[in-house]
């Protein structure tokens, strides 16, 4: 291929890729705005005050991740119509595709998507791209999406595309949720040797 | 160094001297001992004949030191005429499997003495 042609081709692909990402983030943001509206009056006023402080221009920075979203909000968001319009019936990770050079993706996903309170990448992982998805042991609806219905194990990051940091937090949250009994799992079968509990007494009865 | 299996891969002569002793596993500043049977003349990191227990000298959360002993095999090897290193003999004495080792009594006496000496000094310091 001619060098000029290659350059044109590369820029084209770049454009399509970035636009795809942009469309997603824009739609997600609209939905989140709707979700925020449906929340209680107090929260809305708080948010607007915060936003006003952070950016003088008015529009919040879509890449900013310094605001801490409470788990309760996230749990409500997962049940809301906004979530439904964004993701439909599929899991939060099904529509996500990793960007990579060449045919095969690198074995590991990136270390983290958020650096210094900002999204540092053009294609953040499914958890990082949506700030209203909070990984916590109480957020069982979200955790359930990352557990295989066949083996009961956590899905690999090669399948879900989570960054390493989110994946670690996910593992911890799932383990905690199981410990608390919020997530059920199949407990290993325990076989009882009755003679261990009854053996001696039975002998006594025989005598 | 990879661990040798507890069943042991150490080669030994039939009539050579065997010994029940500690082998230091663990790492720097974290001792952990395997109680093993091996040929007396060998170095501790050589393959062992058999592992018969373990000893963790660092107290755990409940302030207890954990020792595991395969008493059946220990008795077998003692019956075969295996020797015992002094720390191992002391530990078996504490466990009640063998008579208490004299050195345990000596350390106990020394500790008590040291405590008794330290007490008047402390009381004097407070007064």
């Amino acid at each position: 291929m001619l060098p000029i042609a290659r350059g044109v081709f590369n820029s084209l692909t770049l454009m399509t890729r970035s636009s795809r990402g942009a469309i997603h983030t824009v739609s997600a943001h609209k939905c989140k705005a709707a979700a925020a509206e449906s929340e209680t009056v107090e929260e809305i006023t708080d948010e607007s005050v915060d936003e006003g402080k952070m950016s003088g221009s008015g529009a919040p920075d879509p890449k900013d991740r310094t605001k801490v979203i409470p788990v309760e909000t996230s749990m409500r968001y997962l049940k809301s119509a906004a979530y439904k319009t964004t993701y439909g019936d599929s899991f939060v990770w099904t529509q996500y595709r990793r960007n990579h050079k060449g045919m095969f993706a690198p074995r590991k996903t990136r270390k983290t998507c958020i650096r210094q309170g900002k999204i540092s990448t053009g294609n953040p992982c499914p958890i990082c791209r949506d700030e209203y998805l909070v990984l916590d042991y109480r957020n069982t609806d979200l955790l359930q999406q990352f557990i295989s219905p066949y083996s009961g194990q956590l899905l690999s990051y090669s399948k879900t595309g989570l960054c390493q940091k989110s994946h670690l937090r996910l593992m911890v949250a799932v383990e905690q949720a199981r410990d608390c009994g919020l997530l059920t799992y199949d407990v290993p079968f325990r076989e009882y040797d009755y003679s261990e509990y009854y053996g001696k007494q039975e002998k006594k009865q025989e005598q | 160094m990879s661990l040798s299996p507890a069943s042991g891969i150490g080669r030994f002569y039939k009539h050579s001297a065997k010994i029940i002793r500690f082998v230091r596993q663990g790492c720097t500043n974290r001792p952990f001992y395997h109680i093993v049977v091996m040929e007396r003349r060998k170095n501790q990191h050589q393959p062992v004949i058999e592992q018969v227990g373990s000893y963790d000298p660092m107290p755990n959360d409940n302030n207890e030191r954990l020792v595991a002993l395969n008493t059946e095999r220990i008795r077998y090897w003692l019956g075969k005429g295996a020797h015992m290193s002094e720390p191992a003999a002391e530990l078996l004495g504490i466990s009640g499997l063998l008579p208490v080792h004299p050195r345990t009594y000596m350390t106990a006496w020394r500790n008590r003495k040291a405590a008794a000496e330290a007490e008047p000094v402390e009381s004097a310091a407070t007064a």
Partner: protein
């Protein structure tokens, strides 16, 4: 590695919190406890048979797809003979999976000192715990001894013994710390309110030994909650149904379970439950005769499951018209006679002073009778129409 570190830190934090706020012993103790040793009555062969029959054997439920890392299935070509043998094996396996956890009284911890040696006082600053790891010993036989700082040698407490057993011979699924689900009152209550009874009980079996106080407290709480929510179907055909029925019979609160059984048309089980409570409280009513009559009329759950398996071998043409009628109505002639017998027995129970919810039970019985009557008429009508009686 970093994950483990993270988790360990979190766990340590949780443990601290748990210790500070609630210890497992501080859990609201259940109001109902076994007042004497329930073991001889529970292990009695007749009781066992009654409990097994009450549990039932639903193959779909016993062999449900489990979400475990290895849940692969195998496909094989077999001759009919091989298949029949395999069916027998399957039933055996199902019975094994329904093995009831033992019901024993709470074991009290006793201090047993082996020797005292004052000369050894202060030989070390900490206790020594010795565990015998001889191959092939059972957990109850394993010796754990403690040498205290003052030189006395004694057998370890139950708690320490369990800890050492778990350390050197880990039981799969058991945690070395109390899971927060059992330590935290609110979490347990939440699990109960979400009706995760089987999960709680499964986990309880793995985490605790049957003779521990926590085991008794938590299982009693689960049974009591279940008695209020009346979701008995969740535990039917699991290994927990037997101990549950035994618990209700012991504490004479069988009426809700009985009502559920009558409504689901498990009259045979209802009779067994009443018989069990008579047996436990030594009520002078002759239940053995009714039971033996019923047993002759109806197959045991294992036989029933086996027949169900075998029936899928037959094609539709091979089934007689009579069997087809049975399938349509769900009852055979024997079932109708058995129902009559059991109805008589249950009515007798409701009439006696032992039942506490007479009106409710009577109503349920009445509706069941009407439905049964309709079924009987339909059954006879169908038979007549197909000319089965004539042949």
């Amino acid at each position: 590695m970093s994950l483990f570190k993270h988790i360990r830190q979190l766990n340590a934090l949780q443990c601290l919190q748990a210790k500070r706020q609630y210890s497992p012993a501080a859990l609201k103790s259940a109001s109902l406890q076994y007042d004497k040793d329930p073991q001889p009555l529970f292990t009695d062969s007749e009781t066992q048979r009654l409990l097994q029959s009450m549990t039932q054997l639903q193959l779909d439920k016993v062999f449900r797809q489990r979400t475990v890392p290895d849940n692969s299935s195998e496909t094989k070509f077999m001759t009919t003979l091989q298949l029949e043998k395999q069916f027998v094996k399957t039933i055996e396996k199902a019975k094994h999976l329904l093995q009831m956890p033992p019901v024993v009284k709470i074991k009290q911890d006793t201090e047993r000192i082996i020797s005292k040696d004052p000369a050894m006082k202060d030989f070390a600053t900490t206790k020594f715990v010795f565990t015998d790891i001889t191959f092939g010993l059972r957990h109850s036989e394993r010796k754990v001894v403690v040498r205290d700082v003052d030189g006395s040698l004694s057998y370890a407490s139950l708690d320490t013994t369990k800890r050492m057993n778990q350390l050197y011979f880990p039981l799969e699924g058991r945690k070395s710390y109390t899971p927060r689900m059992f330590a935290d009152e609110q979490l347990l209550q939440r699990c109960l309110d979400e009706h995760k009874y089987e999960f709680i009980l499964d986990r309880l079996l793995v985490q605790y030994e049957p003779y521990e106080t926590e085991f008794h407290n938590i299982s009693a709480r689960v049974y009591e909650h279940l008695n209020e929510s009346k979701q008995f179907d969740l535990l039917r055909s699991t290994r927990h149904f037997g101990p549950m029925a035994f618990f209700y019979a012991w504490h004479s609160c069988i009426d809700d379970l009985l009502y559920d059984m009558i409504r689901n048309d498990y009259l045979h089980n209802a009779v067994e439950l009443i018989a069990l409570s008579y047996k436990i409280h030594q009520v002078p009513v002759d239940y053995k005769q009714t039971l033996s009559q019923l047993e002759q009329l109806q197959p045991t759950p294992a036989e029933r499951a086996h027949a169900e398996l075998l029936s899928c071998l037959k094609t539709k043409d091979e089934l007689g018209i009579e069997q087809e009628i049975h399938q349509a109505i769900g009852k055979t002639e024997q079932d109708f006679t058995a129902d009559e017998l059991s109805l008589k027995f249950i009515e007798q129970y409701i009439g006696s002073e032992h039942s506490r919810k007479k009106v409710q039970l009577e109503l349920a019985l009445q509706t069941l009778k009407e439905v049964n009557l309709e079924k009987l008429q339909l059954y006879q009508g169908l038979k007549k129409a197909h000319g089965v009686q004539a042949s």
